[in-house]
Symmetry: C2
Subunit: 188 residues, 2 copies
Amino acid sequence: MARAGVSVEGLAQAAAELADEVGFEQVTVSALARRFGVTVASLYSHIKSADELRVRVAALALTELADRAADALAGRAGKDALVAFAAAYRDYAKEHPGRYAAAGLRIDASSLAAAPAMRHSALTRSILREYKLPEGEDVHAVRLLGSTFHGFANLEMSGAFVHSGDVEGSWARVIDALHVALVNWPRP
Amino acid sequence: MARAGVSVEGLAQAAAELADEVGFEQVTVSALARRFGVTVASLYSHIKSADELRVRVAALALTELADRAADALAGRAGKDALVAFAAAYRDYAKEHPGRYAAAGLRIDASSLAAAPAMRHSALTRSILREYKLPEGEDVHAVRLLGSTFHGFANLEMSGAFVHSGDVEGSWARVIDALHVALVNWPRP
DNA sequence: CATCGAACCTAAAAGCCTTAGGAAGTTGCA
DNA sequence: TGCAACTTCCTAAGGCTTTTAGGTTCGATG
């Protein structure tokens, strides 16, 4: 009986690739077993449920995304940082649509995806340093940026922008607008 | 053989309610048949596939949402309109999480959900009238607003904001910030 | 080299989607 | 009224996914 040499990490990785190929919705224990040339039941030695598999993909995606964002932010500040961060975000979504979809999973604090999710707000907050917002406004600005980036990527992926193209142009203008909003941040 | 009196519209409506109760992912032909006290196969006289069912829920949600937005916009302009539109959007998402999730489905132009989706950008554009953006900038501003609202509602629903609460405060600040961005719209 | 745990398997139950073909109400028209 | 056509619903059956239970083989360890 030749062994396939499957590990939990290998499974999550393969599931992530599968997600990018066929969509996160289609990531199934069966499909994964097929890919490994193994019966479905075998995978249950490594994972507890199909749900755990999906959460692991989410954690993987969130970590990769945070890594990229951190790289993009290194040595930059102000609008430079904003632009680089935004690009990292959207590029990842375009390169890895399946993983990106996974990152949007509902995450409860107990989940193993909670820690990487935390990193994101910390990274986003670091963009704001140079904008010097009033005390206590950072949380709101973080949420503005997160919402807009996430919303844009989401809408783009779900085909909402296909008509009347120039998505690139819109993306640039949206970032410009966010910059303007941060510079002229409304006083509380 | 007593008939249940099912119609396509009734199905979509019931599916929408089901979505709000148990989540859009759990909207299934089986569950719907159970609710109507009818066998699964019977429903296939009314719908072609489980997928069509989900698209119909999406269309229903998009229409309801556009109706509410239109009401909110009636007789308002400028920031007033912006605030009212945003409130209509988010309230709907909170009242009808399942429907709202459905509205985020991938929509191809041929789908019967395409028309209501169109209405949204038209309504959003009408908010911008009073801001008098430069020629050709409307598309981008529409996308900014759409992305931010959608992103915020999405993140809120997926639990990203549960820690360090004050979601209401953030929502208000985000709208303020968007207003600022529209007023000081960066020149092309 | 005997043993133990990890990796794998077969088997089976349960739930969902879908199609095929048939029976029973409903409607419309002669 | 009576029958033909249509609609609504059913039984039956095939196929796919998830999950659990219990058994077998591989490989490392003492």
